[in-house]
Symmetry: D2
Subunit: 232 residues, 4 copies
């Protein structure tokens, strides 16, 4: 349940500047800690980016130059039947997750393309790959992000900028972490998740780190599942 | 290039009521013609369903009772680089395709669940499965629809209501039909599409008809590719 | 549990010759009944096609001319841990399912290509798409079939011959039908399969029929799931 | 075109024992060099493992104890039309790639399960995910490997042993490297592969290394594409 880092500091990201969005939420704390541990200069930006909230373009402009942007956004959907999703809940999913993703990419990409170097990692969810009941609005929004990453990743690749997504589930700090504490959810994990456990946040951060490193320059436009084998 | 029906009238849908949205656009004409040919009573509704346009709930209410709803929506994205998508273009994709999909499903589903019978087919695109350059906004919106269909389809299935999508490309009447006439596009079709041709609209309508029939009650929450083998 | 046909006879396949392999096993009886009901001349071939058994090339030669071949093959794997699969069990999966698939396709394809018309449908399984425990050998063999169908389907498509697979699960007459009768399996179906039921054989046969019809000529090289929404 | 390592030696795998199969072929040299650079003790085993060749069980027994096994196997298929694959070519694909994969896993897994620690990475191909013409036999065999990895990975995961595959294409040292030198192939890479280049062997080795590290313990039963965005 902790969010400590796995490895000792290794300096692999020394001198590199990393923006983490909503750094106080979702995978933000774990990702921030891991990049700091690797020697990066992390701009850990807090809060949300919906209408009337903070402007992604301004956030990026203030943080430049940037080597890495981690687009980490979460709006929780109250469980509801598919025919009973309130319009404002539906809207909040796209306002808070989908539109800001596009705006962060649009803001960060031109400088990266100019430098022919840059990494964008979007933290999404497995829901579009394997359905979780009661979350149709959330699933639709995560599906928009995943599809956008595929398209944007393909277009940025020729400029040596890599855009990928991590589609996660069953991670502490991730979606519905409280639910994960209850016995029914734990029984589900034991039965359905091959790893039979919930991952620590730092483990997910390790995958983000790999996708942010020069070691993965040939990986682009991918949606990489991170869910203990729950999707394959 | 024609949109005539393949088969002689067969009466398979006699007595069944089918709503086709945007029946004057995209796959609307071909789907309408095919259902009429099969003896259905088709409510062919014209126009669009964005903000300030027609209200899906009202359209469904006026058309009830409904056995089948074909959610057929298209907003064309002007080709643009991923960092150059205008905000209003981005918005129009979700306004015109994603939100109305949810609203048509939300409006039609309760009666179908009550009757324990009903079919919803959403006509989408292959773009979230295999990228086409310059269409990142369109791809994101189609990805939202595909993910929503998976989630909604799983939730509606226990009530014997089947929701599926047809993810299409390379169909006359479909996206970028004019482009399909130009030599570069035809060369691409010959090189990349295993079927080495563009499908007639009625062929796509046959798949919609199959998914709308009682013969496919065990198929639900699926995104079925229809693209001559271009995606697999 | 019955295998009766859904529709009254419709003559849609009158004058067409259909070979069904292992017609006494797996989906053979349901598929045979459905094609006969549709007016086809069905060559319902019984038995198996492993080493020392019947030769696919001879079966096809004796049945020509053929409009449709349904490659329906099943070898049941005794449940075993992944490190405990006996060599002969492993071998039997490939001998009885994978190699005969290639041989039936190889035997039937040249005449179909010459006529520029023909349909091959391979009945496979969802196991390569979503894992079922204890079946690693079976899964590997079904994965080989699915991949082969994609490759063969792409190559046959320019000649107007369509090769597709139906990846099925939770169908009476299918894999582990007895297991489906037991309470634990039924609980699993209610919990995990959106349709919350097991399909009749004729329902699966309807999908095979659709893929064997002229209505689906633009669908090729696809692995179509048929599992009540269990995979998507 | 070189196979030098990207990073300076980092000692991350000091004290760990890694078996690389067919270390003189395919990705073997790059993977071996990268693990050595990371401080591992690499047992670089040469040759092939078909009938009458070397026995995987004996190779594993001689190399124990093992922390990591990289199942790296390649049999090249002469390009041939789908109806013209010679039986011996077909057989050689399964003999040389599929069966040895199962045998290496079967040999290595019990000790790993006993220790509750171990990593197996199978180097496969994108061909089952996106078709390359003329390679139906190769594709079928790679599809069997990918499906087997999903099944085996799910079963090994509860014992904290991770089995994954890297599905690669467009890598120097990989399949058809000579073809990659010719102008038509390079035009195809520029047109179809988003990264618009061919990867160095060491880049692919970095992904193998990540999957072999403790940082990726929650990733299991996955087939990770490595192809410059060519599949997504």
């Amino acid at each position: 349940m902790s969010t400590t880092t796995a490895s000792t500091g290794d300096g692999r990201f020394a001198g590199r500047r990393v923006l983490v969005t909503s750094a106080d939420q979702y995978m933000g704390p774990a990702v921030t800690a891991r990049f700091e541990n690797a020697g990066a200069t992390v701009i850990a930006h807090h809060g949300s980016y919906g209408p009337g909230e903070q402007d992604p373009a301004a956030v990026v402009a203030a943080a430049q130059p940037l080597d890495v942007v981690v687009v980490n956004l979460l709006v929780v959907q109250p469980l509801s039947g598919v025919a009973d999703i309130p319009e404002d809940v539906w809207r909040s999913m796209f306002d808070g997750m989908v539109d800001p993703t596009m705006r962060f990419v649009t803001a960060a990409l031109p400088e990266m393309i100019k430098r022919r170097s840059g990494k964008i990692i979007v933290v999404t969810s497995t829901t579009p790959l394997r359905v979780s009941r009661g979350l149709a609005a959330y699933t639709a929004a995560r599906g928009a992000q995943n599809a956008y990453v595929r398209a944007a990743g393909a277009e940025a690749a020729p400029s040596n900028v890599q855009i990928n997504a991590v589609a996660q589930n069953y991670v502490y700090g991730g979606y519905a972490v409280d639910a994960l504490e209850n016995p029914a959810m734990r029984a589900k994990v034991m039965r359905e998740v091959p790893a039979q456990r919930i991952a620590e946040g730092w483990e997910q951060a390790e995958l983000v780190l790999f996708l942010a490193s020069e070691s993965s320059n040939f990986i682009c436009g991918q949606v990489v599942p991170f869910a203990g084998g729950w999707v394959s």
